[in-house]
């Protein structure tokens, strides 16, 4: 347990510093247009990179995952809320995996 606490302290410390330092130290408004634009685009880029292709490996089979992906895309384009999109996407995966078992 002692060594686990050490591991925990190291990982939590690194993760917190990475998040905390920029928020505490960089407090004045950034004026640079490139930097502002870059920071505007970053979240969308990060989320896109993390989602694709990872989502296709997130279920039991790639086509079950693909069904979830298609449902999520269609509902998102209709501006449905996060919960609705996530729930319907999971149901689609569940339905396809259920069909596979029959």
């Amino acid at each position: 347990m002692r060594s686990f606490v050490l591991y925990l302290a190291v990982m939590a410390g690194v993760t917190y510093l990475v998040r905390m330092l920029p928020m505490v130290l960089i407090r004045r408004r950034i004026q640079n247009r490139f930097l502002l634009s870059f920071l505007y685009y970053i979240p969308y880029a990060v989320l896109a990179v993390m989602t694709i292709p990872a989502i296709f490996y997130a279920a039991g089979s790639w086509y079950a995952a693909a069904a979830g992906f298609v449902v999520a895309v269609l509902l998102s384009l209709r501006d449905r809320s996060l919960v609705v999109v996530a729930a319907c996407s999971c149901l689609a995966v569940f339905a396809v995996e259920l069909l596979q078992k029959l």
């Binding site: 925990l8 990982m11 920029p22 930097l35 990060v46 996060l82």
Partner: protein
């Protein structure tokens, strides 16, 4: 400029994140136990880190008795994107946010919290942010506990279906914005192409995934920031 500072609105906006985290944390709880951690350790890790990818990477390192420097580097690389998000979110904070608030709020600056806070019109205030981070933090912790304690009871098929939940949420955050703002769509497209290249192309795919996320996102965002800089009117769009 308008400052969004309602605690109740924060809670409302945080709940979908909370639900998303429940399932992901649940899966993490199962994963942690399968890799030799106990329930207390898994929950402690979730409460002190609040990061899915970082925790997933840490479990095998801890389980195999890896070096502390290896653990530290893996967390630094995988979580470096949060530094960018903290810089970005720092620009969004209203005048009600004090220094102490920054120390606390940054602790739960996750991808989803950041995305939701960023998507608000105008600036965001301290009460809104505390409302926003409260339920995701609880959901992340409780989900890990549930997964560690009772995960074995659910059939695989349910757990497998819940695996796409977090990605579906990401899609629901990105696509509505991409639909309205073409350069954002272009940025997403570049990011996706790069991500696939770093997953499937020989040599490129050898690069650790934590690095890949940073590299692809930085390239896509930098290219679009040069081609289509966001003007005043789009800055908080």
């Amino acid at each position: 400029m308008r400052e969004e500072n309602s605690f109740v609105k924060g809670i409302k906006d945080g709940l979908p994140i909370c639900f998303g985290y429940l399932s992901v944390a649940f899966a993490f709880g199962i994963f942690a136990l399968a890799n030799g951690l106990n329930a207390a350790e898994a929950v402690l890790m979730s409460m002190t880190n609040v990061t899915s990818a970082g925790q997933l990477a840490a479990v095998p390192i801890i389980a195999t008795g890896g070096k502390l420097i290896e653990l530290a580097l893996s967390q630094l690389v995988i979580n470096l994107r949060y530094a960018l998000m903290s810089v970005s979110l720092s620009q969004k904070l209203g005048s009600s946010v004090r220094l102490l608030d920054r120390f606390l709020i940054s602790f739960v600056n996750t991808d989803e919290v950041f995305a939701v806070a960023s998507s608000q019109d105008g600036t965001v205030g301290r009460r809104y942010l505390y409302g926003l981070i409260l339920t995701p933090f609880l959901g992340w912790s409780a989900g890990t506990l549930l997964g560690a304690a009772a995960g074995e009871l659910l059939p695989d098929i349910v757990i497998s279906a819940l695996g796409v939940a977090i990605y579906a949420m990401f899609i629901a955050i990105v696509l509505p914005k991409a639909k309205k703002h073409r350069p954002t769509a272009a940025c997403v497209l570049i990011a996706v192409v790069l991500s696939c290249a770093f997953t499937y192309v020989p040599v490129l795919k050898e690069i650790p995934s934590g690095f890949t996320v940073i590299l692809c996102a930085v390239i896509a965002a930098a290219v679009m920031a040069i081609i289509a800089p966001v003007g005043e009117e789009k800055e908080h769009a």
